[in-house]
């Protein structure tokens, strides 16, 4: 190898970490540019952009929860059902006439408890894989949600309850028009993602979550209480699903039996597209956000272009496979064998 080749090689190697960190954002930007050229009048309009954020609002919560679970090399299939059960409990409590500040807290507590149930089941019952426990609770939670609500929708919440999912932040004081408002759910996404970015990257518990995914035996040998961390992770995942329920309550003004059906798969897809590894220990909060955005923009863009939802399914599926293949290639270059 002559020196020129080596230089090229080392430059390439230097770029890998950046590509690893920000490659997914690059894909997101490319998608936005392409969509903009395909739909120049509509796609980047205020109305459409806020629309995308409103559409991804509750999914982004589920994806963030599932992401933490995937980092531990686990999986949570029950997030959609946790969200539905939390939503139904919210609807029942709201219909019973509880004050709004009680109503908004119930789905968060319900979601947290569902997640705790998952976490304790996985660790105390020593399930061979979280897949099994959360597959079970996928049915249990949705069934419970239908049992307590009679399987019928419960509609009509107060404005306070709907605020997070439906509220608008007026920007006329900035000289913008009345229609150019900021959805509260967008601000909520930003706040929650920043909090969890700090949690995963700056705190000791966050580091341990990555360590457990990287090598659970190493974590255990280091004196880390692996089971305790897993229970925390699944509880937080449930809690985020509860936030998702609160947002969805605001958006739809209704608790309904099909809420969040199959959304656990969307959440997993967003994590995978965002670069989280199924083997654990790998992935970033920023990546999950990009994954959620990519799926949201793809759906939105294809809707704008009147492409059938069947094609959307085919495309999202293809992107999952492609994203993971790029990841495989990247790892071939990146790690020592």
């Amino acid at each position: 190898m002559d020196s020129k080749d080596q230089e090229k090689d080392s430059l390439y190697l230097k770029l890998i970490p950046y590509f690893e960190k920000y490659g997914i954002l690059l894909l997101l930007v490319i998608m936005i540019v392409v969509m903009h050229f395909l739909q120049p009048d509509v796609f980047l309009s205020w109305r459409n952009v806020t629309n995308v954020f409103k559409q991804i609002s509750w999914q982004s919560m589920l994806a963030l929860g599932v992401f933490m679970v995937i980092v531990t090399a686990g999986i949570d299939l029950s997030v959609g059902s946790i969200m539905m059960l939390s939503l139904m409990i919210l609807a029942i409590v709201a219909k019973a006439g509880a004050p709004w500040y009680i109503v908004v807290i119930t789905p968060l507590i319900a979601g947290f408890l569902c997640g705790l149930f998952n976490g304790l089941g996985i660790t105390l019952l020593r399930m061979p894989h979280p897949f099994i426990m959360t597959l079970g609770t996928l049915y249990i939670f949705r069934g419970t949600g239908n049992l307590i609500s009679g399987g019928t929708p419960i509609s009509g919440f107060t404005d306070e309850v709907r605020y997070l999912g439906h509220g608008r932040i007026d920007l006329t004081w900035l000289g913008l028009e009345k229609s150019q408002y900021l959805p509260v759910s967008l601000v909520l996404i930003a706040i929650v993602y920043i909090i969890f970015w700090i949690f995963m990257n700056k705190t000791r518990t966050g580091k341990w979550i990555y360590a457990i995914g990287g090598n659970p035996n190493a974590a255990r040998a280091s004196g880390i209480n692996v089971n305790k961390i897993l229970v925390i992770v699944y509880s937080l995942c449930g809690f985020l699903s509860g936030i998702g329920a609160l947002i969805l309550a605001g958006r739809t003004d209704s608790g309904y039996p099909n809420a969040g059906l199959q959304s656990e798969l969307d959440a997993i897809a967003a994590c995978i597209i965002g670069g989280a590894s199924f083997f654990g220990g790998r992935g970033t909060v920023l990546g999950v956000f990009a994954g959620v955005m990519i799926m949201g923009i793809l759906r939105n863009g294809l809707n704008l272009m009147d492409v059938s939802s069947f094609w959307q399914q085919v495309l999202i599926g293809s992107i999952i496979v492609l994203a993971v293949y790029v990841d495989v290639l990247r790892r071939d270059f990146g790690t020592r064998k």
Partner: protein
């Protein structure tokens, strides 16, 4: 040497059952400061089980552990670490997805506390890591390098660095050279010798006679879960030790 230096760790009549299987029966072991003890034995002789008992990963079914003369009951690896007893596992027990520094301090990270939340002190981790690697003369490109990017020998060095980062008194190494290329074995053995000089008691489990005879002061053989033979290294030979492994005296 062993008679003059302080006795650090003693296992008395340690017995361990797994269901109906007897993995260890009345095993005794002693390690002194600055001494290296080689533990040999065939597969299934109970070497790894003994080490896991010493590190607190398994609780002995019978028998006791004494640390600096006092009897101690180890409930978890954390307990043994607090006593200054560290283990370097055969599978290295490193998280490949984390950088060197974070592996060395895994589970014992320096933090700044804000209420319930403990924020990692990345700057301190890096400083301490560089100082510690420098002290052990371990060369890596950067403390921020991920462990999965390192060679086998470098990983073993990181694992040993990890075990000694908190003033370890006894370091137990399970097959420290088994996964290494030949040219890297020497570096790890040098590392063991420099640990001994700092007064650390080192227990090396190994199949490789070359390793045992390069670093150990004393060697003991386990056979079918029992103490089979023990000798100062100067009073024995490779052939004799190999015989012990096979159960011949």
């Amino acid at each position: 040497m062993s008679s003059t230096n302080q006795l650090l760790l003693e296992a008395k009549n340690v017995t361990k059952y797994f269901g109906t299987i007897t993995a260890l029966e009345n095993v005794n072991l002693k390690i002194h400061a600055g001494e290296c003890l080689g533990v040999v034995g065939d597969n299934g002789a109970g070497k790894t089980t003994l080490m896991k008992v010493l590190s607190g990963l398994y609780k002995p079914s019978a028998g006791s552990l004494h640390f600096e003369g006092k009897e101690k009951v180890l409930e978890s690896p954390r307990d043994s670490q607090n006593l200054g007893l560290e283990m370097v596992y055969q599978d290295l027990a490193l998280a490949g997805n984390l950088p060197i520094g974070e592996n060395i301090f895994l589970g014992r990270e320096p933090t700044t506390n804000l209420g319930l939340l403990k924020f990692l002190d990345y700057k301190k981790i890096k400083e301490l890591t560089e100082a510690h690697l420098g002290k052990l003369k371990i060369n890596v490109k950067s403390a921020d390098q991920k462990v999965e990017e390192l060679s086998g020998g470098q990983r073993q060095a990181v694992a040993i660095a990890r075990s000694t980062a908190f003033n370890a008194k006894v370091v137990i190494m399970d097959e420290p050279t088994a996964a290494l290329a030949i040219k890297e074995v020497g570096k790890v053995l040098d590392l063991i010798n420099s640990l001994k000089k700092t007064g650390v008691g080192v227990i090396v489990i190994s199949h490789r006679m070359d390793d045992i005879f390069a670093v150990c002061d004393r060697v003991m053989a386990l056979f079918q879960g029992t103490n089979f033979a023990e000798s100062e290294l100067s009073n024995t030979s490779r052939d004799e030790v190999i015989g012990w492994i096979m159960g011949k005296k």
